[in-house]
């Protein structure tokens, strides 16, 4: 529901993410990917169905302390410094101040932003803002990391860093949900794919089984297979 206008964005979608799994949520524009994400994060209220976050109903906001979220087009307050932003986000995620004191510099170093820690975000390039957005998503060492179009605006080095972080999360037994509209961006990092088309779940499975799927006709490229799923 949006300002009196009812939009049915999702219909009969049922999926889950296991610990230590990286799930890529794909689909064309207006497929309902972001809506699904927003429902999971408590930003939107579903009109029906059941949604669980880390095993608890989404109405329990305390579980959000264990979730990290990187927004697609993040607009941080331009007057904040990188360090102040991470401190604030950590506080909102209920991370104790004593822990934040060590974690903020460590994350800034990991993202290559140590020398810009005390500069206002207004002076940051888009790629630096994306790296900062990733840092704030990791500030609470989340059990579920949600990344909305994370590759946007990242250079090659930052993309490699993102892949490393996703791998780290997987090996640490944590779940990662990556939302994208381009398969090529997530193919190397995901364990499973969920494809949304017009609000319905069109495919859920591994990459290899997508290529083997008789419905996709044994196509040779991932993009072609995905195109077949979109059209099915």
């Amino acid at each position: 529901m949006r300002r009196g206008r009812m939009i049915q964005a999702l219909r009969g979608v049922s999926l889950g993410i296991e610990p230590g799994e990286v799930l890529a949520l794909l689909g064309p524009n207006r497929a309902g990917k972001t809506t699904l994400l927003k429902i999971l994060l408590g930003l939107c209220h579903p009109s029906g169905g059941r949604v669980f976050r880390l095993g608890r109903p989404i109405s329990q906001r305390s579980t959000l302390a264990r979730v990290g979220y990187m927004h697609e087009n993040q607009a941080f307050p331009r007057y904040l410094t990188a360090a102040a932003l991470l401190g604030f986000c950590g506080q909102l995620s209920l991370v104790p101040a004593s822990v934040l004191g060590a974690r903020v510099p460590a994350l800034l170093e990991k993202m290559g932003l140590t020398d810009r820690a005390h500069e206002p975000i207004a002076r940051f390039s888009k790629g630096m803002v994306q790296r900062l957005a990733l840092a704030q998503a990791l500030i609470a060492e989340p059990d579920l990391l949600v990344l909305d179009e994370p590759m946007e605006g990242l250079d090659l080095g930052a993309r490699r860093l993102l892949q490393e972080i996703i791998d780290e999360q997987r090996h640490a037994g944590k779940s990662v949900l990556v939302v994208s509209h381009a398969l090529g961006e997530v193919a190397q990092v995901c364990d499973r794919l969920a494809v949304l088309v017009e609000g319905r779940l069109a495919y859920l499975g591994s990459l290899s089984s997508l290529l083997r799927d008789p419905d996709t006709g044994g196509v040779r490229t991932l993009e072609a297979a995905l195109g077949k799923v979109y059209r099915s």
């Binding site: 949006r2 927003k38 959000l64 979730v67 927004h71 993040q74 506080q91 909102l92 995620s93």
Partner: protein, 350 residues
Amino acid sequence: MNVRCNLGFLKHLIQDTFRQALASGICWMMLVVTAVCVVFCLSVDVSGDVALHSDGEPVFFLPSPPDHSFVPSAGASQQVRLPLETDPALARREGVETISGRMTLAFGAVSIPVSRERSDAVHFLQLILASGIAGTCGLLLTLVWTAGFVPTFLDPSAASVLLAKPIPRWQLLLGKYFGVLAFVGFQLVVFVALTWLALGVRTKVWDVAYWWSVPLLLIQFAIFYSFSVLLAVVTRSTVACVFGCILFWLLAWGINYGSVMARHMPQSQYLPASTVALAQASYWITPKPIDAGLILFNALNAKEHFEKPSVYKLVESGPTFSPQLSILSSLVMTGALLALSTHEFRTADY
């Protein structure tokens, strides 16, 4: 969440509002207005005044002679009207003691005769500063300047990450509201402290009653700003907040004035009972800027120095007027507006 966590979070939102005000230049604009007023206060000088009463003696209001002239007692049949300030020597010969004090403003550029005590002149300036500059122009300007704070905070691309944290939404909204109040409170303290000091240094009149303007004006701002917050939550538009707030301020003035008139005007007896009841109901549920002006007038002890404006006399003579009830009912309305805002914010989709 424990209390310590809540306080830390509130502290951060207050800091965030100060940073926002600094970055947007609003903090500096408000400080410039304060600086202009301080320079004005430093330009004030009072000389030649006479104490009309000794310390501890009660002060009574002394009305000024009409058209600033006096009538000599000699030759009552032949009345000669002489300006009081033009020939004090003649007045003294006539047995009339005149006071030829002067208050100069703008470092002597403007000179105003003072026929009473210097504290009257200072109280007059304090009343202008608190009621006119800060209470009317300052309040409106601050409402306009801070109108963008909450909509910017609630912009989806900025707020999504904050809303995806475990902090309840109502705490985020109220935290920002109190952050803005803290910023405005800080600016008010700076304004009052510096103008009080400047006037005190120049005139040697140190009246602490002037400090009452800080809480009273902050309450007024808090009342009007709660409506701005509601508009911000509903529309997420700075423009809507600016114009909505100004309209609400004008509406509150109109309702307050209308309800006073409905009670006291001779023609009001011909008004339908339903109209009078509606005016009274509107009076209780909207902010009351005229009441607030009267409360500030009394708090500054201005009634000991000047005649009360007629509208204030009308308000005070009303059977139901009570400063405490007036403020309390406005605060209840503020609470209701904030509750509505938090409810709307809690259920809004981002």
